[in-house]
């Protein structure tokens, strides 16, 4: 078992205390206590089809320079927009997906957040995972530890196509509750709004908190439906075989989650929830948006408020999908020459995919700024939020996941940020483990334990 060595990093202490204040022996302890009270959050963002990085000199992703003094090599590089929030980053240079490298195709996304190998059975390459993704492992643990929010996790998408074409589910899904149990991303901000905020009343600073154990009234009809579904699932369960029993068991789990979300519906984030002061009901984004840009902005705004209002602490955001046929016509030059997948095969260097991923980095930079602008405790919400931006390939043109591009951001309550870590083929399971430990899980391995060798060295 490995517990976080530094629940409160040097950097967050300094931020919390403010410049110029002498450190008294007592302040760090108080500060540490205050920080430990803040909820930890996780945001995982997947951008597909690689980022045009490789061992070759054509690399357009890796930052240049020293650990604390790095920059992009070219102002148009993939990570350039993130240099504005450089102090909040930990760029991981040298992560590898051992499982994916053995597959080398667009079917590998199920290995990305699970750290487990693919289940390759089934015709037409309908491959799926053999284990849960780390976000779902964390969500389950938080629930087991009694840290319930209204929703255990949230899966957002922007142009994520779901199952399409030959590769079916596999290339399109990264979130799994268990082996072969995908959760698909929701592309429509209007639906996310409806599910999270339609009946949401932000907590009033003057109102007294709800009494422990007192649950708000659920619409009697919805309650009645849930009770009856539960009963009918039990009756059905007695009639079906073992494979179907697994589905019924998961149906019951999802049903309990639905019920919980209704019971905590209009009262904020739920039992033990800690909305920050900035929590406010966001605007309804309205009808489905067809352009990727406003969709991305709307999803990022909803994501931010979902965290600020403590509706959930775990969010995944999937941009497009591996092998995506979506186009980004708003990009200026090389980036509008082809669909996203086509861009990744645009030669070396793939200027199109570089431009597309540069745009995505800009969206993530904007999110980081949003989180950083929201005060929490003596710091900001970003301090308590781990953000990971990842793609399933380094060099998408070669379907190469032996080098995985990973950017961590935020999380300075535990992580020493503002750095690039030069690593040597670090198994990506180790990164997943570091995310779990950031979320205060008392674990020493993540994904397939045959590959995980410990948390990312030097991160905390």
């Amino acid at each position: 078992m490995i517990t976080p060595k530094f629940p409160c990093s040097r950097r967050s202490l300094l931020q919390g205390i403010g410049a110029g204040v002498a450190l008294s022996p007592f302040v760090p302890m108080l500060e540490a206590h205050a920080q430990s009270q803040a909820p930890r959050r996780l945001v995982v963002i997947w951008t597909p089809n690689g980022v045009a990085t490789s061992a070759a000199s054509l690399d357009r992703w890796k930052p240049v320079g020293g650990e604390w003094d790095f920059n992009v090599g070219n102002p148009k590089d993939v990570l350039a927009p993130l240099m504005e929030v450089k102090d909040s980053l930990v760029v991981l240079d040298g992560v590898t997906n051992v499982l994916g490298a053995k597959i080398a195709s667009h079917t590998i996304p199920p290995t990305l957040l699970t750290g487990f190998k693919l289940n390759q059975t089934g015709a037409k390459n309908t491959w799926t995972s053999t284990g849960p993704s780390i976000d779902q492992v964390i969500a389950k643990s938080l629930k087991d530890m009694g840290q319930t929010t209204r929703f255990p996790s949230l899966q957002m998408g922007v142009g994520a196509q779901g199952a399409d074409g030959e590769h079916g589910l596999a290339r399109s899904v990264v979130v799994f509750t268990g082996p072969g149990q995908p959760i698909q991303a929701e592309n429509k901000p209007s639906v996310i709004f409806r599910q999270l905020f339609a009946d949401f009343v932000p907590p009033s600073p003057t109102a007294s908190p709800p009494m422990p154990g007192v649950k708000p009234t659920v619409d009697r009809r919805k309650k009645s439906v849930i009770d009856q579904v539960r009963g009918d699932l039990a009756r059905l369960n007695s009639r079906v075989g073992k494979d179907d029993k697994i589905k019924i068991e998961r149906h019951l789990v999802s049903l309990a989650e639905l019920e919980h979300s209704l019971e905590t519906g209009s009262s904020g984030g739920g039992v033990g929830a800690q909305p920050v002061k900035a929590c406010a009901k966001p605007a309804d984004p309205g009808a489905p948006l067809t352009d990727l840009r406003p969709t991305m902005t709307a999803q990022m705004d909803l994501l931010t408020m979902a965290l600020a209002c403590d509706q959930t602490r775990i969010v995944t955001l999937q941009f497009l999908n591996s092998f995506s046929s979506m186009r980004m016509p708003f990009l200026s030059s090389a980036g509008n020459q082809s669909d996203h997948h086509g861009l990744s095969h645009g030669g070396a260097p793939s200027l199109g995919i570089i431009e597309a991923q540069n745009w995505m980095s800009g969206q993530v930079a904007a999110l980081i700024k949003k989180l950083k602008a929201i005060p929490e405790g003596s710091g900001t919400m970003l301090d308590n939020t781990a953000v990971m931006l990842i793609s399933e390939f380094g060099n998408g043109h070669e379907h190469d996941s032996s080098y995985l591009p990973v950017v961590l951001a935020g999380g300075s309550a535990q992580w020493k940020t503002g750095r690039v870590l030069r690593l040597n083929k670090l198994p990506h399971q180790n990164v997943l483990l570091s995310l779990a430990q950031f979320m205060r899980l008392n674990v020493s391995t993540a994904g397939d334990p045959n590959y995980c060798t410990g948390p990312v060295p030097g991160l905390v």
């Binding site: 597959i103 080398a104 195709s105 390759q120 059975t121 089934g122 015709a123 037409k124 309908t126 255990p152 779901g162 199952a163 399409d164 074409g165 030959e166 079916g168 589910l169 509750t177 072969g180 149990q181 959760i183 698909q184 639906v191 409806r194 599910q195 009697r220 009809r221 919805k222 009645s224 439906v225 009856q228 579904v229 059905l236 009639r239 079906v240 075989g241 073992k242 494979d243 697994i246 589905k247 019924i248 068991e249 998961r250 149906h251 999802s254 049903l255 989650e257 639905l258 979300s261 046929s325 979506m326 186009r327 082809s338 669909d339 086509g342 095969h345 043109h397 070669e398 379907h399 190469d400």
Partner: protein
């Protein structure tokens, strides 16, 4: 190993995804191992594969809501994507998630508010005749259609209790709406459980379960009243009754929905729309062309299955005509028909059936050049039912870039020359090269990159059509004559209908269906009819 043996009727080698490659060096086992069927089946004993409970697909959900409530807003389009199994949307393994339950709940609540909850036509009775009796009558009739079986005593009791409880709070109308809101979220509505009746070593499906299988396979929707009545009369428990319903259903306009579902999924037509081509190289291509091409293939397949050209597989693969709309005319080099979708003869010696249509040729092509690997692979997996292994881990996969002074064929030939690639790729490109007379949008060409097209191909590793050929017309003719392709069609229809991969327990059914199909001269409708009366369709194996 098994590869050197000859199986003229090769169910043995083909069973279980034919994880077998007849060319040395490409021996990767995909999925399960081959099973030798010799002596495995007891003569006379029924055998059938397993059945998993399937959740309605998006298409089925929309159609079912349409037929159950008369709502045509297609709410299934708002649901999460479906789970494909064995190449077809099945929703048989992946469990429902919280977001999906939220979607179901929202749809159910919305629809329940829209139903005319007090109208006689909806209730099937007049409230004035007595609330309790009318509610019971409605619950019984509506529940039977929604659950696709008569309600049992517990269903009736609990649904009435739910109505009654809500009536006390919100009145009769609110009680009825709650029943609708519930039923649309009930596992008995969302899933299709098949529990059957014990029959020796297998379970025999109930008539209602057969009705659902027929309806969702042929019409992509819930059973109609006539099917449910046939189930009431127990006539679906034997092959005669099933065949009678089959005849009615395939003659119905609704059969179009089932055919579109099968051909759309088998030929990946959904993947076509939205996948663009390089506009500088292919200015004639657009989303409108892609859409028209997908529709053309569905229209062509439907016309053939419904009887054009003997309704045969041979016609599907060799017809020198098609049914097109205006956007496709310039690509085929024909005049657009006066009536959109009417039959059009194609230019002589350029087209023959499905594999020369824009839908396949454009889908299996890159945005700047053809894709001989994809085209060869598609023929092999979809028409010959041979799965291919993934490339070995140490191979770097890149798509070759077009070069001046070289044809696509020449570039791809150089690309696959590495011995590590060659062992499998000799099963792919030599088939795909046969399509080089068609560019990346499916237009006919004799020149590629200012050089003459070489459309010579070679088929290897097949059961019965090995050998060289030239061009897609000759390849299509070979495929149309192949027993392996006929058997593959049987397997594809079984996968689609049952939502699963075939197993060794299905072998006798596959043989039976295959024999009928062959005897009929390759009529697709005969295949489907034989499938519906086969043990695989009417029985399930005990787990």
């Amino acid at each position: 190993m098994m590869l050197s043996r000859v199986y003229p009727l090769s169910w043995n080698a083909m069973v279980l995804g034919a994880a077998v490659f007849a060319v040395s060096g490409c021996l990767g086992n995909v999925g399960d191992a081959e099973v030798d069927m010799g002596g495995m089946t007891t003569p006379g004993a029924l055998s059938a594969g397993p059945a998993k409970m399937r959740r309605m697909t998006r298409l089925e959900y929309s159609n079912t809501i349409r037929d159950l409530l008369g709502d045509t807003t297609r709410p299934g389009n708002q649901l999460s994507a479906d789970e494909p199994v064995a190449g077809f949307d099945a929703n048989s393994s992946a469990p429902v998630t919280l977001p999906q339950l939220q979607q179901y709940a929202y749809t159910a609540e919305t629809l329940a508010q829209k139903v005319p909850a007090t109208q006689v036509a909806f209730l099937g009775c007049d409230v004035a005749s007595g609330e309790d009796s009318c509610a019971r009558k409605f619950i019984s009739a509506f529940g039977k259609r929604a659950y696709r079986r008569p309600l049992d005593a517990t269903d009736e009791k609990e649904l009435f209790a739910m109505f009654d409880q809500e009536r006390k709070q919100g009145g009769f109308e609110s009680g009825i709406r709650l029943v609708v809101q519930y039923v649309l979220q009930s596992p008995f509505f969302l899933y299709r459980p098949e529990t059957g009746m014990k029959d020796k070593n297998v379970l025999k499906l109930t008539g209602y379960e057969v009705a659902s299988r027929l309806s969702y396979a042929l019409w992509a929707t819930m059973p109609d009243d006539e099917l449910l009545t046939a189930a009431d009369n127990k006539s679906l428990e034997g092959p005669v009754g099933v065949a009678a319903q089959m005849a009615r259903m395939t003659a119905s306009p609704r059969f179009s929905d089932g055919l579109a579902s099968f051909y759309g999924q088998w030929l990946d037509l959904d993947a076509l729309v939205g996948r663009g081509k390089n506009p500088a190289l292919f200015p004639k291509y657009s989303d409108a062309v892609a859409k028209a091409a997908a529709e053309e293939t569905l229209r062509f397949a439907e016309n053939v299955v419904r009887g054009e050209g003997e309704g045969s597989l041979t016609t599907l693969l060799t017809a020198p005509y098609s049914y097109i709309t205006a956007p496709l005319a310039p690509i085929y080099g024909v005049t657009a028909p006066k009536t959109a979708g009417a039959k059009v003869d194609m230019p002589t010696n350029q087209r023959s059936g499905l594999l020369t249509q824009v839908s396949f040729l454009a889908l299996q092509a890159h945005e700047n050049q053809t894709n001989p690997i994809g085209r060869g692979g598609f023929v092999r997996t979809r028409f010959m039912c041979r799965e291919l292994p993934s490339p070995p881990p140490d191979v770097k996969i890149t798509i070759p870039v077009p070069k001046a002074g070289l044809t696509t064929r020449q570039i791809f030939e150089a690309h696959r020359a590495a011995p590590a690639c060659m062992s499998c790729h000799k099963l792919l490109e030599p088939v795909g090269f046969g399509f080089e007379n068609y560019d990346a949008i499916g237009a006919y060409r004799t020149m590629d990159n200012k050089l003459p097209v070489d459309a010579r191909g070679d088929m290897m590793g097949s059961d019965d059509i090995d050998g060289p050929f030239t061009g897609a017309l000759e390849l299509s003719k070979k495929l149309a004559e192949s027993e392996q392709v006929r058997e593959c069609m049987v397997r594809q229809w079984l996968r689609y209908t049952l939502g699963r991969q075939e197993t060794e327990a299905d072998v006798s059914s596959l043989q039976q269906i295959g024999a009928s199909f062959r005897t009929s001269g390759g009529k697709i409708q005969s295949l489907i009819e034989a499938l519906a009366v086969s043990p695989a369709f009417r029985y399930i194996g005990v787990q």
